[in-house]
């Protein structure tokens, strides 16, 4: 009996790609958090060019998937949101990158 990996084709690898990360906006958010220790909400808005609502929505999805952690604190009297990629998020992002790189470097005939 063949193992699961032996049964995988390039097409099935792509179909099974992490769709949470695959969304361009979320990919961009994770790409930034991957290279930084932490960033706040304002920083991501400036870097990604998203609207506040749009960014909030994507952050919620990433948090629900366990890829980022969101910490809300107060600086003086103003709320402040700090975002950080989790170890699971870091690994998932790396796996996603490898998968896509392999898919692009070895396209099916």
């Amino acid at each position: 009996m063949k193992s699961r990996h032996e049964n995988e084709t390039p097409q099935s690898t792509i179909i099974n790609i992490d769709k949470i990360i695959h969304e361009p906006a979320r990919f961009l958010i994770l790409a930034h958090l991957f290279v930084l220790e932490s960033a706040d909400f304002l920083f991501l808005i400036n870097q990604t060019g998203m609207t506040q609502g749009n960014l909030s929505s994507h952050l919620s999805k990433l948090e629900k998937a366990g890829y980022i952690e969101i910490t809300k604190e107060f600086v003086g009297k103003r709320p402040h949101t700090i975002l950080k990629i989790t170890p699971e998020g870091r690994k998932s992002f790396q796996d996603y990158k490898s998968t896509m790189k392999n898919a692009l470097d070895n396209p099916p005939e």
Partner: protein, 233 residues
């Protein structure tokens, strides 16, 4: 099978994975924090103050207090500029381990340079330098060598480790200032020699910094919406 092929082509086209360079993303984020012009203005103010410190000497405020006094605006500007101008517009970010490691190396190298400089100054003061090293005012070559060793090299290290490219230009300006002041001294005397030379070598980074600051303030205005967005997030 046909659907899968179309889906695959769509994903490759839309994602453009090969164009994503994480190193570039990190560098772009890091260099954003130099686009506010604050470090340029600080350098400019520090150098300008060196030229004008002797004026305080003439009103009875001698060294080192005259230098400390004229340095104060630059110090305050740096301390509060980032907090009041930059962070409310760009946000807060902590960079990764590589940048932290560069900072640690910079602290070690800077500390070593400071110790060497203090040691040389002590030797100079005590007239204990070996024969052959004649640090006499008016000796242009010696001034240039000392300037390169005690200012040029350390500032180049800072520019390298902090990854602040404009600092190389400012380093060249500052390093050449002392020998230039030596040359000016024979024409205009002291303290005008320092005032003229340091006005130029300090004025250039100051003007560049002001340009960056104005551009930065226009690009990242603070609106009421930006100030309160986190309450809605």
């Amino acid at each position: 099978m046909l659907q899968t092929k179309h889906y695959y082509k769509y994903i490759c086209k839309e994602t453009k994975m090969k164009d994503i360079d994480l190193k570039q993303i990190e560098q772009k984020a890091y260099k954003m924090f130099f686009k506010d012009g604050i470090w340029d203005i600080t350098m400019g103010l520090l150098v300008l103050s060196l030229g004008f410190a002797p004026l305080l000497d003439e009103v009875g405020i001698g060294r080192p207090f005259n230098i400390m006094l004229v340095f104060l605006p630059a110090i305050f500007f740096t301390l509060f500029g980032k907090k009041i101008i930059t962070i409310p517009r760009l946000g807060l970010v902590k960079f990764g381990e590589e940048r932290k490691s560069d900072r640690r190396k910079l602290i070690i190298i800077s500390s070593a340079f400071i110790l060497v400089t203090v040691f040389i100054l002590i030797l100079l003061k005590a007239e204990m330098l070996p024969d052959g090293i004649n640090i006499v005012k008016g000796e242009l070559t010696n001034t240039l060598i000392i300037s390169v060793l005690l200012l040029g090299l350390p500032l180049c290290f800072v520019a390298f480790y902090v990854d602040f490219v404009r600092l190389y230009l400012y380093t060249a300006l500052i390093t050449l200032s002392w020998p230039a002041a030596e040359i000016m001294n024979s024409y205009v005397g002291s303290p005008r020699d320092g005032m003229i030379v340091f006005s130029i070598s300090g004025g250039i980074p100051l003007l560049i910094g002001l340009y960056f600051l104005i551009t930065f303030l226009r690009k990242y205005p603070i609106s009421a919406e930006t100030q309160h967005f986190e309450e809605k997030a």
